[in-house]
Structures are given as C-alpha cells and as structure tokens.
Amino acid sequence: MVWQFSWLLLAATVQAASLSLQSPRFTISTPDATQLRSDTLSLTKKPEPLTLGPTDTLKLTFQITESDEGKGVQPHQTFLRFYDKASGEEGIQPVRVTPGGKAKFELNMARPPASIPPTTHNPLEVSLILGSFVHAPAQYDLFDLYLPASHTPAEHPDEASFHVLPAIKHTFRPEQKSPPQFVSAIFAATVLSPWLVLIGLVRFLHQIDPQLTDFVIKVE
C-alpha cells in the first residue's frame, strides 16, 4: 500500500517539470526553392499573418526542451492545431519529434495533408499543443495563416432526394349524394311492392283454406 502511494508522490513531483519551446522558425518557399519569407517566432507576440499560395511550402522547425535551457525531450503528444475562429473548423496535425526534442514540419499546399480544415478567406490560427505523461501540458499560439480557400464539398449522390417536394394538394372524394327524389320515390315504391305480392298470396291461400289464414285475415 505504501509502495503505490510513494509512486504517486514521485509522479506528482516529476509532474512539476514543464516543457518549453526553443528556437521556433518558419520558412515559406515557392516550388522553385525561392524563399518568400523566413523568420523566427516569438512566443510572446504573433508575427504578421503568414500567407501561402496554392503551390507554396511552409517549413516549421523547433525544439522542445525541459524547462528553459534544459535537455531536449520528446513529449508523448505533439500536435499542430489549425483553427478557423469564424467557422469553428479545426484540424489537428501530429508532428514527429526526435528523441532529442527536435521537430520539423512541412506543409506543401500542392499536396496538403487531410488534417487541414476547410478554409475560407479567414485566417487559420496555428498553435502547438504538447502533451506528456510526465510534464505539464503546454500550448503555444504560433501565428495566423492564410491558406487558399477550399473548394465547396462534392455533391452527395443522394442530394437530390433531399430537395423540397412540391406541396401535395389533396383532393378529397366528393361527398356522396342521394339520388334525385323522383328516382328515390320510384324505387321506394318498387322495394315495397313485395308487400302487395305477399298480401295477394295470402288472400289466394285464404280462398283455398280459410282456416289457415285466420290469424292474418279476419273473415268479413
């Protein structure tokens, strides 16, 4: 029991160590290796927004050390986050870091990675996020980046089925009407005519056998 607690205590003390970013540099170059812009990044102030053309390449280099001038360290997670504040879209790009803490990231707009979010004319905020089991996490806002706007997404094959259909004008069956009164009267008489037939038959039977129909026809 005491063993486990002592491990936690050790982790807690080690947790006090923090990461820091050393010498971040960026370079924007054209396909024929002409350098458009190159500078170091300040951790306190963002530079002028970077702009990348459709074929330009952005190279980013930095080193991660353990608390200012310490030795290089490889954090467990190193991500570059591209965030569009206006639309809320973000993309996370992991960055490979050597065991010595040195990292190099290249963004070639001719073949952009899939993690870049859809872009508009608004800039993307680029920040570096570091995560580690033994260090306190760190996030550095690096710069704003203007990328070429994305194409609109391809139309889904079923898109047409979601269009608004024309309003249905339901026509109800017209109310059933009674036939004309004259016709009704004739057929009423027709349907009641069997009574006359019955009376005639009973009268006929009465002639044959008077006693049979005593309860129906009173002999007058």
Partner: protein
C-alpha cells in the same frame, strides 16, 4: 327479306322444359300442405324484397351503404330463418327432426327473427 318465322308449335327442348315446370307446379299445388304454402309465400316475399333492394343498389346508388347492408341482410337472414322453420315443420322431415317439435321450431324462428331485426334496426342508421 324473309318473313318472321311463325312458330305456333314450340321447339322440342322448350316444350320439355315447359312440361317439366308445369308438372312441378301442379304437383306442388296438390301435394304441399297449406301451412307450408303459407311459409312459401313468405319466402317468396322475402326473396323478392332482397332482390329488389340489390337491384336498386346496383342500378342507382349504394349511398347509405350501411342502410343497404342492413336491408339486404334483413332479407337474407329472414329467408334463412324461415327456410329452416319450413324444413323443421315439414311433416315429411319428421324423421330428421325427432327432438324438435314444430312449436319449438317456431319459437326458435321467432327468437331468431327478433335478434335479427334488433341488429338490422341498429345498423340501419
């Protein structure tokens, strides 16, 4: 144009039918007891009534359909009840209905008719 065919003598086939029907009719009048003839009159009335109602439904309209059903069912139901009464009351069927007296048959007929007309009246709407 040939003149109309005058046939004072009916063809053999139809005359056989005529003879058969005529024999049946006279035999019916002679041999059927009068009480059964009375029931038969009522049966004929019921049939005629049902047929005429159906003809109206087919020719003109079935508009209050429930009314048609009620009336037609009344005719059919009454016919069935009366026919069964006739069968049970017929002296020639005595051997088949040993445990049913004519009075019992009539009571059944009356009760059945009451129930039938109760339903018909309610369905007539």
């Amino acid at each position: 144009m040939a003149g109309p065919k005058s046939s004072s003598k009916p063809s053999p086939a139809s005359s056989e039918t005529y003879v058969a029907v005529s024999t049946l009719w006279t035999s019916y009048l002679d041999q059927t007891p009068d009480r059964l003839k009375f029931i038969d009159a009522f049966l004929a009335f019921t049939v005629l009534s049902g047929v005429l109602q159906f003809v109206y439904c087919v020719l003109v309209t079935n508009f209050p359909f429930n009314a048609f059903l009620a009336g037609f069912a009344s005719s059919v139901g009454q016919f069935v009840l009366t026919a069964s009464l006739r069968a049970q009351v017929n002296p020639e069927n005595r051997s088949e209905f040993k445990e049913v007296s004519p009075e019992r048959a009539f009571a059944d007929f009356a009760l059945g008719s009451i129930v039938l007309h109760f339903f018909v009246f309610n369905f007539l709407g």
